[in-house]
């Protein structure tokens, strides 16, 4: 690791600027793999994706393939998908149910608990010192669940997930704890590649309400009913807030308005709109509070580093890094468990049509990120200082309703918080 960036401020939080090459430098990326993705809580799956004992889900923690397995006692464990012999993957299936994982190369077989239970020719071909007990699949040492969301951490000394989330839980609950029945994941995951740095997605979902009217202008125009005034079509007259975590880099933003949320109906259809503005609103107001039940809308959020969602629209995703200049997006839909099937189907179709590979909103975002990334091939472009001043000095803590540091929803306070945490981690042990 060269010392090119060791003492350099990649992010200047005081003046509000940062160096573009945080999105393109291979050296910085390698540091991220070690200091961010091996130290932070990373999203693995939702409990409802593995309803039965011995269900497994192939997933990733950054670029490491990981198998998430529901154990026979109902708990969850996660293992690196890498045989301890020569490193072949022991599971090739996206998901399923199995008591064992057998490596196809030489037949080493592991149980659902990761233990190495069978080695062909063990007695005849291996020495006495060969100890199966020490050769289980490498386990993700920390695994904790918050409101059904399963997170893993390679750092055995990491603070608890609850401490890691801190007051961000208030904003996470706005989607994942609206009702007694809770949410479930509609089966399946959309997976696609975008040739851009993972932070472009993570930052936008933490901090960027600003882009909607311009980036999504075409689809907002096409999808908003004719009778909604132009100035409410995505660049609101709606006031809103943006939250930046006191520590940890999490961020969120949302509109605040009294009255029916018209955006839900535009994007997910009238049946979901009706359900959202009546049943869901009542449930969330009773379970949480009036603010999160009735007033908050169009919420976006990122849990640092790379887990994001839109509440209301109910798209949830992970931005898996694939090198400094590519990411693999995994996205799924959550619905209220006790919603009627027709409502669940409308959620599914609505999100498929807007936030997915064929999603009309998503396609506009990817376009920005692709071209940003392409531009960073340029030496000069990579050295540019980019602006991070929106809302600088205009946010504060101590809001009686909203925990954390809070400012206008048209702001980059959450982005500054995201990059502050990022920079702190990047500079550790350098």
């Amino acid at each position: 690791m060269t010392s090119d960036h060791k003492d350099e401020m990649l992010i200047d939080l005081e003046s509000g600027s940062f160096r573009a090459e945080i999105f393109s430098s291979r050296e910085i990326y390698e540091r991220e793999l070690e200091n961010v993705f091996s130290k932070c809580w990373l999203f693995l799956g939702h409990e409802t994706q593995l309803p039965n004992e011995l269900d497994f889900l192939n997933t990733y923690m950054a670029e490491d393939p990981v198998i998430l397995v529901r154990q026979e006692d109902g708990t969850f464990r996660a293992f690196l998908n890498q045989c301890r012999h020569r490193g072949m993957q022991v599971n090739q299936y996206d998901f399923g149910n199995s008591p064992v994982f057998a490596c196809p190369y030489h037949g080493w077989t592991y149980g659902a608990d990761g233990a190495l239970i069978n080695v062909p020719m063990e007695d005849s071909a291996f020495p006495k010192c060969f100890d199966k007990g020490k050769l289980g699949l490498r386990e993700v040492p920390r695994l904790e669940i918050y409101k059904g969301l399963i997170f893993g951490n390679w750092d055995g000394d990491a603070e608890s997930l609850t401490d890691y989330l801190g007051e961000a839980a208030y904003y996470i609950d706005a989607l994942f704890d609206r009702s007694p029945a809770g949410v479930e994941v509609i089966g399946g995951i959309h997976k696609w590649t975008i040739d851009s740095n993972w932070k472009l997605g993570a930052e936008q979902f933490a901090s960027d309400m600003y882009h909607v009217a311009l980036t999504h202008g075409g689809v907002v125009e096409a999808m908003t009913p004719e009778d909604v005034p132009v100035d409410r079509r995505g660049f609101a007259a709606n006031p809103g807030k943006q939250y930046s975590a006191l520590k940890g880099g999490h961020g969120s933003g949302f509109y605040l308005s009294d009255g029916d949320d018209a955006i839900i109906a535009s994007i997910l259809g009238p049946r979901v709109g009706e359900y959202y503005n009546t049943t869901l609103r009542d449930q969330a107001t009773r379970r949480l509070d009036r603010v999160r039940g009735e007033l908050m809308g169009s919420q976006h959020m990122t849990v640092f580093p790379n887990f994001s969602f839109l509440a209301g629209i109910n798209t949830v995703r992970v931005w898996h890094p694939r090198g400094p200049d590519a990411m693999e997006v995994w996205s799924f839909v959550v619905v209220p468990k006790d919603a009627p099937q027709e409502v669940k189907d409308d959620y599914r179709r609505g999100v498929e049509r807007t936030f997915s590979p064929a999603g009309t909103f998503e396609q506009d975002d990817a376009e920005n990120w692709l071209i940003i990334q392409n531009t960073l091939k340029g030496y000069q472009a990579s050295k540019s200082m980019l602006n991070l001043q929106m809302g600088l000095g205009m946010a504060s803590g101590g809001d009686p309703t909203f925990p954390g540091t809070v400012g206008s929803c048209y702001s980059e306070e959450a982005a500054r918080g995201f990059y502050a945490e990022w920079q702190r981690l990047i500079n550790e042990n350098q």
Partner: protein, 181 residues
């Protein structure tokens, strides 16, 4: 590039039908490549089922090992209304991933025709869609497709009642599926 019909290929009506269907499919593809989206919409029936499942990689011994199931995620699950909205959006001229527009070519091949009744047909075929955009975006989408067509009074002579598109990709190796298949 066509395989012929399930009836005898020697019979005159079967050969004419083959040519008619081919002509329709090739001209429909050309409408999309020319971005004549309103003309294309006219070929879509009011109760179209336009569907592309999500492809998965699962144990081949399991049923449903290749695709997700009903009520699970799909890539496309469209009605005439939702297809109309997609096209309406393209016509605003304010779609980032469409400005400037891509250059596409839709290839249809290995066409098999099955008569369902006197004027409705099931078409199974293979497809390749090549898309090139700006200087750096290049995609190839391929797979197989099943259409149900019915004779209709429109410039191309058929309406599409349903289209089931099976893209060969599980992980979509492209930044978007901003394309009509």
């Amino acid at each position: 590039m066509t395989e012929g019909v399930s009836k005898s290929v020697d019979s005159q009506p079967a050969y004419e039908l083959k040519l008619e269907i081919e002509k329709f499919l090739f001209e429909e593809a050309a409408l999309l490549d020319r971005r004549a989206f309103d003309d294309w919409l006219e070929l879509i029936s009011e109760d179209i089922e336009y569907f592309m499942p999500v492809r998965v990689n699962c144990d081949p011994r399991d049923a449903d090992s290749e695709f997700l199931k009903a009520h699970q995620l799909a890539q496309f699950d469209e009605t005439k209304d939702s297809l109309t909205t997609r096209i309406k959006r393209l016509k605003t001229g304010r779609v980032l991933s469409d400005d400037p527009p891509p250059r596409t070519h839709h290839y249809v091949s290995n066409i098999k025709i099955k008569e369902l009744d006197s004027d409705a047909y099931q078409i199974d075929c293979l497809f390749i869609v090549r898309r090139s955009r700006l200087d750096s975006q290049e995609d190839t989408f391929y797979g197989d497709r099943t259409d149900i067509l019915r004779r209709a009074d429109n410039p191309l002579g058929f309406q599409i009642l349903s289209r089931n598109i099976r893209l060969d990709m599980s992980l979509i190796r492209s930044s978007n599926l901003n394309i009509l298949f």
